[in-house]
Structure formats: C-alpha cells, structure tokens
Amino acid sequence: MSAPTRPAPRPRRGAAPRPSAPSRLRYTLTQLGVLVLIIVCIVLVEAKWDRLLEAPALSLNYGGLMIEGLLQNPFSEPYSRYWTDAIGLMLESLQIAWIGTVIGAIFSFPIGFLAASNIAPRGVVIVTRQILNIIRAVPELVLAIAIMLPIFGLGPLAGALAIGVGSIGTLGKLTSEAIEAVPTGPGEATRSSGAQTLQTLRWAITPQILPEVIAFWLYRFEINIRASAILGILGAGGVGSLLAQVFERRDWERIGITLTVIVVVTVIVDQISGAVRHRVISGVPVPIGKAIV
C-alpha cells in the first residue's frame, strides 16, 4: 500500500522479476471523492467554526463545575435533593423503557410468526412485512409527537407507548428472521406425531427460537433506555425532562450530577442485561465434574 522505504534490490540475473504493484487508481479516486465530499459539506454546513477554538477551554471550565457538583457532600441540602431527583427520574426512564419493551415483545411475537415465510401464507407475509417496514421507517420521536402525546398527554405513558410501538417494528422483523432460520426437523417430527399447526408452533418452533428472541428483547431494552431519555426532552417523562431543564438553566453542578446518574445506571443495566443475554444464549455453565454424572 505505502511506497517502499528502501529502493528494491536489483533483481539477480535469472531470478524472477518482482511483480508490479497492483493498480491504485480506484483507491486514489475514492480518496479524491471523499475529499471533495468533505469540502462540499464543510462549505454547505455553515457551522460557526471559530467557536471550535473556544470549545476546549469552555469544556474544561464547565467540566470543572460539573465535577465540583459531584464532589459536594451528597447528603447535604440541596445536593441530596439533586441526587434523589435524578435517580428517581432515571428509574422512571427505566420503567418507560421496560414497559415499552414488554409491549413490543408481546405484540411482536405473534406478528413474527405472521411475517415468517415458512409459517404463514404468502399474502399474509407480504402484508405483515409491509406494516413492520412502515413502523420501522417512522422514528419513535415522530410517533410520540404525532400520536401519543396528543392522545395521552405529556407524561411517561405517552413515551412508553411510543417506544412500545417502535419496538414492534424491529422485534417483529428479527423474530420472523429467527423463525425462518429454524431447522425443519423438529417441525416434521411433531407433525408426524399428529400435532396440529398451533401445536407445531408451540412445541417445535417456539423452543428453537426462544433463546434468540429473548436476547433480542433484552437488546431492545438496552436501546429503549436511551430512547426514553430522548423522548423525555419532548415532555414524555423520565430523566430527559430533567436534563433539558437543567441545561436550560445552565446549572452545571446539577448537569454533572444528572449526567453521572444516567451514565452509571445505564452502564449497570447494560452489564446485567448483557450477562442475562449471554446466559440465555449459551445456557447454564456446566462444571466439568458434574457433567459426567
């Protein structure tokens, strides 16, 4: 790829000549293209680039204020209130994300079967898939402001429902793909023992896809935690509303506390959810001594 640092040794007589370097034309053209694209974008974006120079100093300054807020005694007023407020609202965000995920899981499971081409008739599959595509194309934010907030009013419920409907789209698609990838053996076995369609789905398909599908649910839960923070900024409850509030007042000490709560809780929940996912996918770790017995 890069130019040789040393001149290539002269080929000895009789030795095979060095192969010529492969053409770099496409590579160079791509690089040029990307360069032009960047320049065009930088011109079009009209950003106030001069602010970039002040940013590091300002960030240090604000960062210092945030750390100051964190270092205050968390049991003295008003800091104890700041901490409990942030933790309480973060828990509400978790509740929103959980309910959203439960709604998504409950609805997406049967929909996944309807969208699987090896289960449902062709017509049903096409219609269901289109519905799922439409849901996935609409951002949750739009679902929230266009449908849920007007009907359910400002509050966590609107957020949970928007996230729930949004989750149906992705979970339904993932579930249907898992069902389509299932080996046909167990299904044939249950049918040959006289099982009806529903029994086949229950005893042959479901056990095969369940670990994977549960892992999808947990993964979606992790995504939904972040989504619920976004919706909070529009007034759909949770820690997002607090975040927007403290940022509006430039209350840097409180911003520091709130951001810390968000980061710590998210990391903890991600770790737990990741551990459960791993356990669901790869099963109980069997100690070697016990496995023989």
Binding site: C41, W49, L52, A146, A160, I233
Partner: protein, 269 residues
Amino acid sequence: MTAPATAQRASTTRPRRPRPRVGTFVAILAVLVITVWAGDGIDFDLAPLWTDFGRGWFIIQEFLAPNWDYVGRTIGPFIETLSIAVIATLVGCTIGLAMSLLASRVTTANPILYRASKIFLSVVRSLPDVGYGLLFFAIVGAGSLAGILALIFFNIGIIAKLTSETIDAVDRGPLEAADATGASSLQRARFAVVPMILPNYLSYCLYVFELNIRASVVIGIVGGGGIGSSISVEFARFNYSNVSAIVVLLIVVVFLIDLLSQSVRRRLT
C-alpha cells in the same frame, strides 16, 4: 393390542416428564414483578385511547393533511442535516477506528491501556445522543457545529464497539506472519489487522451514517441545527401540518439513504 401385551414391554412406557426448573419460575416471576412495578410507576392505563381520543384526533387530522407548500422551504435545512451527518460520520468513524484498535486485546497488548479504553468507550456509549446534543449546545451555542460535535461522540461509541468486536474475532494467521517479520505493533495493526476488518468497518460506517440522519433530527430539536431545528420551530408554533410535511419528507429521505447504503453494504461484505 391387549393390556397384558403392553405390560410386558415395560421398556416402552412413557418417559417421565422432566421436572420444571426452579430457575425458569424465578425468572418469570422476576419479569412479572418488574413489569408490575414499572407499569405502576408510569401509571399505565389505556383508557385515554377511547376517552381522550377526540383531543388527539384534532392534531392527528392535521398530521394527515401535510402542508406541501412548506416543503420548498425545508430543502436548505435538509442539506444542512445531510452535511452534518457526512462530516460527523467521517470524523467519528476515523477516531472510532483508532479507539477500536486500542480497545481490542488483539492489537493492544498493554492490559492497562486496553482496560482504560474499554471503560472510556462504555462511558462514551452510555450517554444518549441527545445528552451530547444538549452538552454541545451549551458549550458552542446553537447551530450545526453543536450537532456535528454531538454526532461525532455518538459515532465514536458505536463504531468502536462494533469494530473492536470484529477485531477480537479476526483470523490469527496474518498477525503471526506480521509478528514473524518483526513488525511493530503499529505496523501489525496497519498491515495485518486493518485489511482484514476493512469491509466490515466500512459497512459499520455506512450503518452509522444511516443512524446519523435519524439522530440529527433529535439533535436538531435540542439546538443542533438542520431539519430538527425546523421541526422544533414548527412544533412550537403548533403548525402540525408543516411538521407533518417535514416528517413525510424525512421518512422518504431516510428510506432512500437506507436503500443506497444497504446496497453498498451488501457489496462490501
């Protein structure tokens, strides 16, 4: 078949049902308890769906009648959003590649550096895109610069996680070959690791670009410029039919970019 005949063949009796596992019950119970706690916490109630539907219907009606005349005025903000996404993707993905080399055991032998990068990345990832939007809005003021900076941080987290996992799973042969020629760890990363992960990495970059288009809307709402700013202005003025026009256009743009990027990604991998 008579009764004595079956009795003789004792070996074909039905196998005993496996005992239900305690762990499964505990897990189901835990899920139920959390669901009830969460539902109670957010006052879960579907009654507004029929009692307050009229209140929402008025707004939904406006959404169903998009104001197409407004579309002309959104072209500028849309170009701004695309530019923000392109710049943020390029910068974020470049830094993300460097971070992912640091956050994989394959390329980083030093355990302290490896651990530190992992922790740094998980902190970067745990803040939602909107958090960065608010943060940079406060630091550099309203406008597209705040949006670009916010998306860069958002991208570093995603790219570094996906790419470092790809690096972890890389084929060891070329690495050993590079080691055998006496390559330094930087040369090893450049000539043995990067060529192997390049198709996956580029595919992640395109995926991140898709995400950026969506995310720049949200970031625009909190002051990061682009189409999101237009949405929040029209929303604040209760011009729902204008919001609806933007949203429809946005869905089309997102859909087209997804199609384009997916076809490129399919060729890459």
